[in-house]
């Protein structure tokens, strides 16, 4: 039982550290990249990787099923709405830019 708890703690430490690292890197990317379209990709590191890892780390520390479920609910909500708002932002910004020729591959 004790081994299990230590394992859980180590795993959640790793998740939270990786998540924090991804968040900071994504923010650096937003600051550092040139041009809107490149920044969009840096922001998506925050919205997918950092968010998932941090929420997963918190889930392991929850210790209560209801808190676990609420965290999972927040994660799922961000998982669905995050890319949706990025997509809306990209398609709104497309007006300033010429589209490529249509050749599907």
């Amino acid at each position: 039982m004790e081994i299990f708890e230590i394992l859980l703690n180590v795993l959640s430490w790793i998740f939270v550290l990786v998540g924090s690292f991804l968040m900071v890197l994504g923010a650096i990317g937003i600051l550092r990249f040139h041009g809107f379209w490149a920044r969009l990709h840096a922001a998506s590191v925050i919205e997918s990787g950092g968010m998932i890892f941090l929420l997963a780390g918190m889930c392991l520390q929850a210790g209560d099923f209801l808190i676990f479920f609420k965290l999972a609910f927040i994660g799922l909500f961000l998982f669905i709405t995050g890319p949706t708002s990025t997509h809306a932002l990209a398609s709104a910004a497309l007006l300033d830019r010429s589209k490529p020729k249509k050749e599907s591959n």
Binding site: L22, L25, G26, I28, G29, R32, F33, H34, W37, A38, L40, H41, A42, S44, V45, E47, S48, G49, I52, L66, F69, K70, F73, F79, I80, G82, P83, T84, T86, H87, A90, S91, L94, K99, P100, K102, E103, S104, N105
Partner: protein, 159 residues
């Protein structure tokens, strides 16, 4: 009718898991809330004449979800490398990708999966094609997208 029962179960389950207070009064309020929610959602379906059919196979979807998490991890590493190296030598490109999904929900899952994996962003859906913007374009990216496309077509309920 089947849809109503399914959404009733999902919403009531969500309520019970959110609430955590299992007194008779609160559960009665829960039932009332679920019924009110279904009333509004059905009204919305009726008036905008646009019904989304969530025709996906649940267990295959779970499998796809786990595969997607792996893809997100892989492409995160790629984008982190680019962030650390700076964006002097990157090769941004916008291109159309053909989709093979029949239903709206399939296309939306595909577009959102493209956006969720850092490095590629879906910009707009135009009929059967998705406009994709890629941060550091390589020819191998197209194979990855085709693989994703195939997996999503697989979780759709075939007509």
């Amino acid at each position: 009718m089947k849809n109503v029962i399914l959404s009733f179960t999902i919403l009531l389950g969500t309520w019970l898991l959110l609430s955590g207070v299992y007194k008779t009064l609160i559960i009665a309020f829960g039932l009332f809330s679920v019924i009110l929610t279904i009333f509004f959602v059905r009204r919305m379906d009726k008036f905008d004449r646009y019904q989304v059919k969530f025709d996906i196979r649940f267990f295959k979807f779970i499998g796809y979800f786990i595969w997607l998490l792996g893809e997100i991890a892989k492409s995160n590493i790629q984008v982190i490398k680019t962030i650390l190296q700076g964006d002097k030598n990157i090769n941004q490109k916008m291109f159309y990708k053909k989709t093979t999904q029949a239903s709206d929900i399939g296309k939306v899952i595909f577009a959102n999966s493209i956006t969720l994996t850092p490095g590629t962003i879906s910009v707009s859906i135009e009929g059967g094609d998705i406009l994709v913007h890629s941060l550091n374009f390589k020819e191998t990216d197209l194979d990855g997208l085709s693989e994703m496309d195939k997996r999503i077509t697989n979780i759709e309920v075939s007509k």
